[in-house]
């Protein structure tokens, strides 16, 4: 086999001008630079969408404020009052503590730490096991009924089991979060790893990629959309189980603890504040995960 010089004769193709195909009024440019225009009108749409969404949210809060003001019930405090209470309770601390009060650092932060640890453990184990399962047809067939069974159990029902095994405390809470959040990410990862385009596997074989290269360059990127679908479900389960495990007796701190504590003292304003906080947390965490997904998957990438 010869390799002659540096392929001078081929170079001339680079400069071949684009000629439209007769009768079709032009084809795709082959020059490697042309990209569709028209970004101006497309950019206006998301801004308008965001404005509309915020308007609807503001209208809902205004309606809430108006209704609660007119009825003046102790069970349904107006949102302005909840907001003020939320601020006083958690966010009126000194600037050196990022405006967090001791109440916040003692309850919100431990809760978030437990949730993050549980979610991270579930995600890492789920992705690893899911990839392994998805690559072996036999392992998948054997384990699938078990997985479907495990997934079908309502997660909070598992908590009493872990209470018995670990007694009350952080271990029990972490176990509850991990064993609930692991299933969606595991099952989705296995599905993603199982459905890799056979042609791409042939390409990997022809390129003689090593097992590690195949994992990082083909399997994981192929499965990534499914992995993220699983991660989103797992994240919301982590939040649910974090709060639920803290509602049980024997917990000394946490957002769930604040909730039951306020309820036992008939402090409805704090109960409402916790609910609003949980809603906001769920929203922020999900938005964060979506941003990570968008960053990793890229815009407009086909699967």
């Amino acid at each position: 086999m010869r390799w002659v010089g540096d392929l001078k004769p081929v170079r001339r193709l680079r400069t071949r001008p684009f000629r439209p195909i007769r009768g079709f009024g032009g084809g795709a440019p082959e020059d490697g630079t042309g990209r569709g225009g028209g970004g101006e009108s497309r950019r206006a749409t998301p801004a308008r969408g965001a404005l509309l969404r915020w308007t609807v949210l503001a209208a809902a809060v205004a309606a809430w404020q108006l209704t609660t003001r007119t009825h003046d019930s102790v069970y349904f405090p107006p949102p302005a009052e909840i907001a003020r209470h939320t601020h006083d309770l958690w966010f009126s601390g000194p600037a050196t503590h990022a405006f967090l009060t001791p109440e916040a650092t003692d309850n919100i932060l431990p809760s978030l730490a437990r949730m993050a640890t549980g979610f991270a453990l579930a995600a890492a184990t789920g992705i690893a096991l899911g990839t392994a399962l998805g690559r072996s047809r036999r392992a998948y067939a054997l384990c699938n009924p078990v997985l479907q069974f495990a997934r079908a159990i309502p997660p909070p029902a598992l908590v009493p089991v872990f209470v018995v095994i670990f007694d009350f405390g952080t271990q029990m809470q972490l176990a509850s979060i991990v064993f609930s959040a692991i299933w969606p990410v595991l099952i989705n990862t296995a599905e993603g790893a199982r459905n890799i385009d056979p042609l791409r596997l042939e390409v990997a074989a022809v390129l003689r990629l090593t097992t590690t290269e195949r994992l990082w360059l083909l399997l994981l990127p192929s499965a990534l959309p499914r992995i993220f679908a699983g991660l989103r479900l797992s994240l919301s389960l982590s939040l649910i189980l974090m709060v639920f495990s803290e509602l049980l007796p024997g917990t000394a701190n946490g957002i769930g603890f604040t909730l039951t504590d306020a309820q036992s003292r008939s402090d409805l304003l704090t109960v409402w504040a916790v609910l609003v906080l949980l809603g906001a947390l769920g929203y922020v965490l999900n938005t964060g995960l979506l941003a990570v997904e968008k960053r990793l998957l890229g815009r407009g990438r086909p699967t």
């Binding site: 010869r2 042609l199 791409r200």
Partner: protein, 248 residues
């Protein structure tokens, strides 16, 4: 030198290829033509070591093919699926260089050099799905050529491109072949294309159990060009002969 020795291939009880014996000397551009579904792709996958040989033998330079051979590259028809959309164009082209133990910078410059040669200068940082079909197939060709294969297999590589792009890429292939002297097995169902690009055309019969029904050297005068060559009486005669063989 690629040798197929009474090669047979079957899926279960269904025979696909029967008694195929061919010798492809180094540097030849062999076109394999046949009616669709006759087993052309199966033949290519067997040569590539992607399918185990059922009967007979495939050997490259005297070495029997058992797995994917060293210094082999394949270009598939479906460029959209064969390229990795999560990698940039440059990263796609650099993929085969990992085996050669090159550093990151070297892989990168080799890939850029190859992209320039297939007419895609400056497209390295983009992603395959941002390019037109013809450009994507150029990327796939660059990826196949980047580690200077001694045997290049092409499975209907231009089958899903428009006529103009297809002609441009046929000429690109001929230029590369002339410069590199790579042995190429080019599978197509297009009779015109097989005569235009091939040094030699082999026609397979319709399945099941396809055999070689015509083995024809293509001796066309001068450098080939899309308008002139296709108008030559020799070209027309060869095309008619291949056409008759394909129709049985």
């Amino acid at each position: 030198m690629l040798r197929l020795d009474s090669l047979g291939q079957r899926y279960g009880d269904h025979p696909v290829l029967r008694d195929i014996t061919l010798t492809v000397p180094d540097g030849q551009l062999l076109c394999v033509v046949g009616p669709s579904g006759c087993g052309k792709s199966t033949l290519l996958r067997t040569i590539a070591g992607l399918l185990p040989t059922r009967e007979g033998a495939v050997s490259i330079d005297g070495e029997p093919v058992t797995g994917v051979p060293d210094r082999l590259a394949v270009v598939f028809q479906d460029y959209g699926r064969s390229l990795f959309p999560w990698l940039s164009v440059r990263e796609n082209v650099a993929l085969p260089l990992r085996r050669r133990g090159l550093g990151r910078a070297e892989r990168r410059s080799e890939a850029e050099r190859m992209l320039e040669q297939v007419g895609l200068h400056g497209a390295g940082r983009r992603h395959p799905w941002q390019l037109s079909g013809g450009m994507q197939q150029r990327v796939a060709i660059a990826r196949a050529l980047v580690c200077r294969p001694s045997l290049l297999l092409m499975d209907e590589p231009f089958g899903s491109l428009d006529a103009q792009t297809r002609e441009d890429l046929e000429d690109l292939l001929l230029d590369v072949h002339r410069a590199e002297g790579t042995t190429i097995v080019f599978v197509t169902h297009d009779i015109d294309e097989s005569v235009y690009v091939g040094d030699r055309v082999v026609v397979l019969s319709a399945g099941p159990g396809a055999r070689v029904v015509l083995d024809l050297p293509v001796a066309l005068p001068g450098k080939r060009d899309q308008i002139g060559t296709r108008g030559l009486p020799e070209f027309v005669a060869l095309r008619a002969e291949v056409g008759r063989a394909v129709r049985g």
